[in-house]
Symmetry: D3
Subunit: 287 residues, 6 copies
């Protein structure tokens, strides 16, 4: 059913003027101008599903080179992971939470706790409401205490989107683990989220030493998380195919048991082996 | 067979005057006067088995509210866990270990190492000897180095009681993991316990930022450990039943796919939904 | 000379639309609506100089109660301090630096490094240019590496304003120590600031676990820093006067050598002493 | 005037039965039976003033050997120090604070906060009231938040005793620094002490990895703190005199510029130098 | 096929003079003179396979006593482990990597990055080339950033040797986890190894607080890693057999449910039980 | 008197073959081949005194650029400093200490403790004996516990050389502070050095994330320590003179009060100001 998604867009329009930091669709388009793909109605880049599928086959090693190709500050580690064996891939929806200043929060009803009527409140749940299929909620909450989501909201994310990256706390870890979805967080606590306010939704946020933009492709493995700009994602997956073939060939040669590691890796020294590899690469790239 | 338990009581009486810190049964009763349940002969509150069974169904989130209802300082995290997926529930038997002062330890033979005959020594094992079925040994050992238990003593705890919470070190982790019992500890080391003395058995102890009393209900999940006073445990499990129903209903509504997270959670906004929930709650509470 | 200040305002107007996060004067007024004092042309609250003078006489202990009077999240510690014995008091000018995303930074020339002509660049120095007498530059740079100021820019701050609070790194500490001004920072390094972009100037920023607004009164002592909202500052300094008298009287009584600490502190128990204190308070408040 | 001291003893007698952990004078004497000196009326060992004077001339290096002579677990470091250049020497009065359990605290009015009348409360100040000239208050507060003393109570300690060692927080550091007394603590915060209870006064307490007994000689320098048992203190100061002479001779030889470090230190190799040193030692020991 | 192993020896000879730190076979024999077993051609002790098999049955607890028998500084913990449930046992081949000094690295082509032809470079892979069946590569890389091995080189180690202990970083953790081999490391990162040079191969290296010699028996369990000198390994495995029997008997007695922990553990008190144990031990040792 | 220095050389020759890691003078010359200055008889580069004098006027900021000019891995921070206001400048003599392996240490008598006669022992003092005027002892002791020097050996360093950088512990801090010399260390403890062995003297060592060579110029300020290769030191000091002039001019312009920080810093934008600066630079460089 399309209804909730339309509703989400409407909700977005409504809340757009109502946080400290916000971007109009035009502004979001301007700051992500090099996006080569479609966009959502709110301006957020929409990397196609088939590209996301190919990202799921990547390893962090294959994304690594991206920093040297003009896209710095995209990798963050030090998370705890709900399901360490499961990759997290999706499009970023972002949320910035900051410590409560009641005089600021009361202006737009962005605070927790709040005296405003529930339907007027802008909260962390307002960002969850925006999730589309394939979306990952990315939350900068490094300055606020309390579990941002528990098993109920995690279940909502699972029904709507693809997972979460929270630079902050969650609660009810055992309940969340029962859901077939992974997520990244800093600490699990029993306490509820409180004493904070929404500073911005779908604005650039920092997650550790990275800056994340709405629409970035989230790629999480058991080491950490990459936030890949839409403009870079195609080159990354194309190059990864070659890496897969290279690793396949390298291991085949090691299986033969005749070679030292330096004979073969990172690339063959011997010219006959070089040629053998190039032919292997050519053949398997064509397939 | 009842024999070992009677023996334990006798042992307790014998060692009662023999540590730096100790409580007579009268004193223990006085400090836990609000206990609504039976007691062990030594004055320790005995939360009934059927309540412990209900505690096993709790999540940390459901215990959380207890701090606001007049019971602060009951939650501690930062442990390593022998079997993270397995809940730990039981009644606390407490032990306080402190760095050795030989002139103090020699008075009551409470030290490690000790020159006293084995049968006169008061050691960490003296506290293990007191364990009854359903008991969890809770040890403040944050100031002393060395593994307090290895696989042999862990096996003894398993045969007698329900598990352990050690604010300190253990050893032989691989051997302990083979036993069908969980436990919480700070670090696994190869070295034996030494250079310490028993300061008290079944006295109040601190575990991190909590104070634990003998007879508290230990509740450990994959996030941390709660120590629930007997006086509070009934209210906690009763309230948890309602939380279970609430979460069940919330997830059912999310399954319908028609609602935003804020429509339903933490409670429905719309009056028809409110009424629907209240009827659901009533119906399922009755069952 | 007024020239540079007028220039600063002009510069502000010019750069106002040119960062990711920005507030118009109207927005800034709206988020600080409870400010009882004048404002700068850009909407920033201007706590009067005579109040700032009284703040210089405070101790952190005297500010402490503010959190319970409705102003949470205002204290941050864990800084290194250029001159630990010297209090830092002034009005906050804020700056948010985040890790560089070149596609974002190139839009408004907010990045470091930058290919844009110097006069078009928005940098951390753009925020320094806004400093007025009595201003403290408050910089959220917890996600970016490199020394944000060295001795040259510290000297500029000294000539223009009152000091700095940097949730990040500085460089050339020995040179900065030679200037008659204090400052708070996290770490001193030899490296230059780079690989970052300006996210906002005179917007709300987080410094550790606090949210700081432009115009907040910065109060730093040897323990940490308070950011006092303009709306609260008068009550804080008034109440501090009474605390000063209380401490004076308490120490006089301790000097007499006849009393236990509990006889006198935190308040006298004996009714005659109570009366004596009240008269002392009344008399010294009147002076 | 003797009055307050008599009063202190009376106060001690009164509060003695009123904490969770307590020792009668007989028990305290039993646990410190090897004390070779006089005792206070409450059983606490009283190392004579002339010995304390000699302790003031020690360095931590000179106390170090004590651990190998049968007195382990006496050294703790990692403190912040109010006046790093000033040695702290005195007799320990001990206090144990633990997280509040209201049902325990209400029994003897040992909690903070408390509803009991001020004159019935047992608090951290009850321990301060016991201080005698030359006493150092030693507080185990590693599990409780909030500043245990501020400038008023620090002033009281200064008037009565010799300083403090607090394994926990203090507040109003700037005010405390103005008093001519040093102290050791873990962190300075603006918040008041709360949410705790007194577990024992003048009982054995742990400070980091040490166990401290009432009457131990506290020795603090710029590296850390030693707690020297009365039974060991005479041997320590006697041996230190020889170390002073050894260091004096060693430096004189180094001043001559003719020797390698190994020729002289830790003891001379050459037999003529050995003899020279022995004569020097003999001569200067005699003085 | 023997060919690659012969090749390895040749390679070793060739590179032997080519690092900053190196040992001739004679020197290596001199520093491991108490080795009771055969040696590899390069002088490295070769603990026999049947002893390694017996080491696989050990627990860290059983190795622990070794430090008191004259072999200190052999245990290190704090690692992350690729396969925590799988023991790592093998003979150490060592490698020391240090931060690059280009003027040093250029002399022997030991640096990364390097301009020298591939076949002249001495790199971390040169050490991997030396691996024999049953060998564990032990790398001191605590001062250098970047992943020393990824899935390709891990696969090479798997084909040639038995596993790795890296006091440093690895990359491509997910890929390495797919290989049927365990390893110990400090952190997983996406970045490649760079900015370092080889300081020595098959020289003594430090791993945390241990010194490891080529030929030491590596023993890793889920707590940490022991490096057992060849001279000590026989005594360790012999003594472990007795410990196994002791633990077996202890648990049998606990199973009977009639004994307190102190009756049985660490050894029986009662003389009849003592005798029972001794007979059990004798009987089972004979088998 | 020259005697001890000649003696030192002799000692060096004697001990040269007697550690695990050692370099002949030829080897040391080979690894520092780009040294443009004289050498000591043992091959160690000898940066002239007049250059060392100019280094004393540097700030860390002025050394910083060196990493981009081909000399990476030279800066380390995180030290405690004996006299933070005093710069440390001198030529490095290096020492590597590692955890004791008795079978290795007994070969060359390099261990602590040792049973060898004092005159045959190679210890940390053997490295101190090599110190020449202007030398700084640089010790890698990050893996060994205990205070490497106390006040006696610090006094020896003061009489012979210029200071110390110890990646490890020292003892007797108060005694060391009385000497007119600064030093860098990680922690002050009361315990003596033990349980270690000398791995090498005047060999490359790692200090944190740097590799230090014998003869490097040590430059320590209140932020950290640079180890400057002899080949780079001339360029560093020459460039620093220009930086001094630049900073002087910049501050003069800020004193005028007419300029924004961006008008002047890091370099003037306006062409007239640019010219003014260039003339100032030229004039002051000529002086």
């Amino acid at each position: 059913m399309k209804f909730p998604i339309v509703f989400a867009m409407a909700a977005f329009a409504a809340l757009s003027p109502a946080q400290v930091f916000k971007l109009t669709p035009d502004q979001l388009i301007r700051y992500t101008a090099n996006n080569p793909f479609e966009r959502f109605p709110d301006g957020r880049p929409k990397v196609p599903d088939n590209i996301l599928e190919r990202v799921k086959g990547l390893s962090a090693e294959e994304v690594f080179g991206i920093e040297r190709r003009g896209y710095p500050n995209l990798y963050e580690s030090g998370f705890r992971i709900v399901k360490p064996g499961k990759k997290l891939v999706g499009r970023a929806v972002t949320l910035m939470l900051v410590p409560l200043r009641p005089e600021v929060a009361s202006v737009d009803s962005t605070g927790l706790p709040s005296n405003a009527p529930r339907e007027k409140q802008i909260s962390h749940q307002s960002a969850l409401n925006l999730l589309q299929p394939g979306d990952v909620i990315v939350i900068d909450a490094h300055t606020v205490p309390g579990g941002i989501i528990g098993d109920n909201l995690a279940y909502f994310i699972y029904k709507r989107g693809a997972g979460f990256v929270i630079d902050g706390q969650i609660r009810d870890l055992d309940g969340i683990r029962e859901i077939d979805m992974t997520g990244y967080y800093r600490e699990a606590v029993p306490s509820f989220l409180t004493n904070c306010m929404v500073a911005g939704i779908n604005v650039p946020v920092t997650i550790g030493k990275t800056t994340v933009l709405p629409g970035d492709v989230v790629f999480g493995d058991s080491e950490g998380v990459y936030f890949i700009p839409p403009a870079a994602v195609k080159a990354v997956v194309d190059r990864a195919d070659e890496t897969h073939i290279h690793d396949e060939w390298t291991k085949k040669k090691f299986d033969e048991g005749r070679y030292q590691s330096t004979d073969i890796y990172p690339s063959p020294i011997d010219s006959a082996l070089k040629k053998e590899y190039e032919e292997y690469l050519k053949k398997h790239t064509q397939r």
